[in-house]
């Protein structure tokens, strides 16, 4: 008798440890060899590494962790950057509610981070009770933001607008105003630490993105002057190391400006980094633009769309989606490049670490610990960036259309 086809079940594949090992670690003689070699290296390296980590001198990190994050910012005014942290928590909560997937991880990770800081062992405590309570309260702020996303405020455009507003407010708040009682001006020479890295990177990213898109469009423009300028700018800036641009900005630019015009050195650094990043952004975006089939232009023309509308509605959304991975990679590089500000004497996190080590003879042997700590801090941020980029790609269906 013939079997009824719908009754045939797909055979169940059993998975067990042995099978997994064979498939993944020992599926051929050279893989087995590699596995054994890797195991040997692990056994030789891991135990000494762990014992070194435990015995290491973490004093330069633990004595004043706040220094790494806010630098020489006056302790009495620390409530101002703290408000920035509250902004970020609130935005995390809101974005979690609005965009779901990609940003939920961010929000959850930040909550976990706050919890860890709030519950630090007493022996490591440099925060005091107020600090602990502040970070614990931020967990609630994230949840508050999530709740707020259920209200009419929970629309993508409001959250973006709020983000930009909060960003501007934060900068004004941290800088203060000359002659103000409540918010005395804090010179940028006293800004420092990771706050400065994040600030420079954030402004650089927010400013270089539209600038780069404009340059990319300019380079493909039919207008000869626009095209020439864009191409010249891109090729000149890309042909020069970032350090040179930073040096030019910090040393040469003031010589050309009139006596009474003083541009703040942090702003000069931001301009340099933005220009540099915009040139690279332009080339990345151009790659995306070139990948759009000509038929898309035909179709847009055929329904009567004008050139600018075609670019905004049809071409850019597709081109930018194609280059998300490259763009995020570039933003990560920009964030890490902010450590180069150390060279023009700006007290970003690496500069703080260096001066801590060099300024204290008992810590001079603990350089590795300091730099490891800084590397770890950067890794957390860049990992979060690349993780969210991958989630974003998934959400937008990049590479599967």
């Amino acid at each position: 008798m013939a079997t009824i086809i719908s009754d045939v079940k797909r055979p169940v594949e059993r998975s067990n440890l042995l099978k997994w090992l064979r498939q993944n670690l020992f599926n051929s003689w050279y893989n087995s060899l590699l596995t054994l070699a890797a195991l040997w290296v692990l056994i030789r390296v891991a135990p000494p590494l762990v014992s070194w980590l435990l015995a290491a001198n973490w004093a330069p990190v633990l004595t004043s962790p706040a220094l790494y994050f806010v630098g020489q910012y006056p302790a009495a005014e620390l409530w101002r950057p703290a408000i920035g942290v509250v902004f970020i928590s609130l935005l995390f909560g809101l974005s979690w509610g609005v965009w779901r997937g990609p940003l939920r991880t961010f929000a959850l990770a930040s909550m976990a981070g706050y919890a860890v800081i709030a519950l630090l062992p007493v022996s490591l405590d440099t925060l005091g009770l107020t600090g602990r309570l502040f970070f614990a309260a931020n967990i609630l702020v994230v949840i508050l933001g999530l709740a707020a996303s259920r209200t009419p405020l929970g629309k993508a455009r409001w959250v973006i607008l709020l983000g930009l507003l909060a960003f501007g407010t934060f900068i004004l708040l941290v800088r203060g105003f000359p002659g103000s009682e409540l918010l005395p001006q804090i010179q940028t020479t006293r800004w420092g630490g990771l706050m400065l890295n994040l600030l420079v990177a954030a402004v650089g990213i927010v400013a270089s993105f539209p600038l780069g898109v404009l340059l990319a469009l300019g380079r493909r423009s039919n207008l000869p002057v626009v095209k020439l300028f864009s191409t010249l700018f891109i090729e000149l800036v890309r042909g020069v190391p970032l350090i040179t641009i930073l040096f030019l900005g910090s040393l040469l630019l003031p010589l050309f400006l009139p006596e009474n015009v003083r541009i703040d050195r942090v702003i000069r650094a931001i301009i340099g980094i933005t220009m540099f990043s915009a040139a690279y952004m332009a080339e990345n975006v151009r790659g995306g633009l070139q990948a759009i089939p000509l038929g898309q232009y035909d179709a847009a023309k055929a329904i009567g769309l004008s050139g600018p509308l075609t670019t905004i509605l049809i071409i850019l959304p597709q081109a930018l989606r194609l280059v998300i991975p490259t763009i995020v990679g570039q933003f990560i590089a920009l964030f890490k490049d902010t450590t180069l500000l150390i060279i023009v004497g700006i007290n970003e996190i690496l500069g703080i670490g260096k001066s801590l080590v060099l300024g204290n003879p008992t810590w001079i042997t603990a350089q590795i610990e300091v730099y490891l700590f800084i590397a770890f801090v950067f890794w957390i941020f860049t990992f979060a960036m690349s993780h969210s980029s991958r989630r974003l790609e998934k959400a937008l269906g990049v590479g599967e259309r």
Binding site: P293, G295, Q296, D298, A299, A300, K301, A302, I303, G304, L305, S306, L309, L313, I314, P317, Q318, R321, G397, E400, R401
Partner: protein, 251 residues
């Protein structure tokens, strides 16, 4: 120019020439199309038929002669070109849907951004059109989730949403699997019966026989023969037409 119904033709082409660099693609095309007429253009590949219908909404520029569409002469004036493109819908061989938008958004884009309709009205009209082309239930899907036939029908709806006076079809079924060709041709035939002026580049001779008022045979950038389907199929005058028809009608 001769007309079949006495009114002015909606498309007039006089001695249209076009070159791609040194290659002379269109070599003096004369053609007048009346309102409501369905003209099917056929001919061997490389004969310039696609290039020709692309000159009518100026996706290709002609270098000599004149093209007058709905009383407006095609010139370098961008306002003229955009005015004509609003009145002329086009359907492409490769569909050219916007992959980042849903079917509905593909259809509403033109009305909202070019015609400046309120979104709600544009969506109502778009849903009616998707209904008309037989895929109302696919409105929220992206092009990649649709079959070729469905994509081409969305493309037809997208062109119709601009309420054009003329529809151009550039080999609309050439990229489709055989079982999907009919669903697209059915939509086109319904459109032809509704009185739309249509210029169709196609080798679907069944469609030509059923829906066309006139057939135009292109070879090497020249119109070799034109006439009603009766004349062309039953009594072709030119040897080249006979040969070509025998080649494509054999099976």
């Amino acid at each position: 120019m001769t007309t079949t119904n006495g009114s002015d033709p909606i498309i007039i082409c006089r001695d249209v020439h076009k070159w791609f660099d040194d290659f002379h693609v269109l070599r003096g095309i004369d053609l007048a199309v009346d309102t409501g007429e369905v003209v099917v253009i056929f001919g061997p590949s490389g004969s310039g038929k696609s290039t020709f219908i692309r000159t009518i909404n100026r996706l290709e520029e002609h270098q000599k002669g004149e093209i007058i569409v709905d009383g407006i002469e095609l010139s370098h004036d961008i306002r003229n070109i955009e005015a004509i493109r609003r009145e002329v819908g086009m359907v492409f061989q490769q569909f050219n849907l916007f992959p980042h938008l849903t079917a509905l958004q593909n259809v509403t884009l033109g009305p909202i951004w070019v015609r400046r309709w309120p979104k709600q009205r544009a969506e109502e009209v778009a849903r009616e059109l998707l209904e008309r082309v037989g895929i109302p239930e696919q409105a929220e899907k992206h092009p990649a989730q649709l079959s070729g036939g469905q994509q081409q029908r969305v493309a037809i709806a997208r062109a119709l949403a601009m309420q054009p006076k003329i529809m151009l079809f550039d080999e609309p079924t050439s990229a489709l699997d055989p079982e999907m060709i009919k669903e697209v041709l059915d939509v086109m035939q319904e459109l032809a019966e509704s009185g739309m002026t249509m210029l169709v580049v196609s080798h679907e001779m069944g469609f030509a026989r059923a829906a066309a008022n006139r057939l135009v045979f292109f070879v090497e950038g020249v119109i070799v023969e034109k006439g009603t389907p009766e004349q062309i199929f039953n009594n072709p005058q030119e040897e080249r037409t006979k040969l070509f028809l025998s080649q494509i009608l054999q099976h």
